[in-house]
């Protein structure tokens, strides 16, 4: 039941990804630094590490690094 929610979520997200053709010369705004998936990679790393250490859930956007004995 719960795993079906993940599948439904991904299907909705993928379906919503249907999109118009955007030519390379129309991608200037997408290339702005503010539009990066992680504007500040070090800040994103530290935040992910902090939440991983202090919450019961983690992951979702990739695989990287090892564990820690964080209390």
């Amino acid at each position: 039941m719960r795993s079906s929610r993940i599948i439904v979520f991904l299907l909705i997200a993928l379906t919503s990804a249907s999109c118009a053709t955007v030519e390379p010369w129309e991608r200037g705004r997408l290339a702005q630094p503010e539009m990066a998936l992680d504007v500040d990679p070090l800040a994103a790393e530290l935040e992910a590490h902090t939440y991983f250490s202090k919450e019961g859930a983690s992951g979702g956007t990739g695989t990287s690094g090892g564990g820690c004995g964080c209390n």
């Binding site: 991608r27 956007t61 990739g62 990287s64 090892g66 004995g69």
Partner: protein, 395 residues
Amino acid sequence: MNKKNNIHATVQSLLASALALSGLGQKVAAQTLEDEQVNYRYSKYDEDALPDGLVQSGDPARYQIETHQFRLVKSIGDRYSLTFNAVHETMSGSSPWFVLPGANGTPVQILSGATIEDKRDEFRGKLTRLAENGKWSLELGVSDEDDYQAKSLSLAREIENEDKSRTWALSGSISLDDIDPTDALLFDRVESAEKDSFSIYGGLTQVINRDTLLQVGLNVSKHDGFLSDPYKRVFVENTIRNDNRPGSRTQYAASARLRHYLNSVKAALHVNYRYYLDDWSVEAHTLDISWNQKLPSGWRLSPAIRYHSQESASFYSPFFTDSPANGFYSSDYRLATYGALSYRISVNKTINDWDFIVSAELYDSKESLAISGTQFQTSGLVDFSRFTAGFNYRF
């Protein structure tokens, strides 16, 4: 009509050339190497003391962590790039130890009696290679603490479609961890243990239109070995026992990350959502929204808000009046039902090849913030503040 078409084609060609020269057009695609740069951040993390009524004994000063992060990105020829990350952390303070039933069944927290002093060093090296239709990357990492060592390896592949509007990502990682708790004999802790983790990720990043990007992904992780917390104890049937969790855990996390540019105000809206589920029955929803406002003279202001709500693990309770039939129990607040709100703000100033950054975060967690509401009072939930300062230098 022909003349109009010719003009249109000429303008398109000029725009494409201008974008190619500026590099703007290429940065949207994954098939580029990251700019050569050095990044440094210093962060101070400070947990609030627990309310007086919730603590019976122990050092009320909770964790403080100072973190230094260093990152170097260096190109090797036209097709390779090396990224080196180093982290040095020093931790001090006390940590929730176990929970006792108080008056009227209210949980009362016992914190670790002595101040914990520890440090952690992490080093990671990543080699990225451009391929014809994307890139490969291989990363090796080690993390070392007095009582915990982790060695990790990850391999990632990104594949773009022909017009570079869609990027598929696939990665896998393994981490082999050794746990050697301090004062093991004194406190009846496990003396030495191992934990192995395997993780895979699949994702898709899609250009939706000229202002919008969407990334969706699914991450599955499997952990085996010693997954209990060697420093936490549990009140079970009038005895104090060691935290005891199952020896395996499978985690699923589905994520969606939306980026939308509002050209009229020169700002980017970021919306991140994650749905999480594992076979310990922890289920969580996390929503993170930030506004990245470009300002004149190289300034950028980025406020953000994050909401996290989770349901407890099946073997979690603040204390156990009866011994669970399956023998698993934990009163670690991180496995409890609760919700958390955090507020962040970041200010960035760019001067030529330099970025200077300061940021702050306030994190507040409560049982009542959970989507399901308060199920029972949980002692030990953490509130913290964090301050960060640093710089980037591109060379």
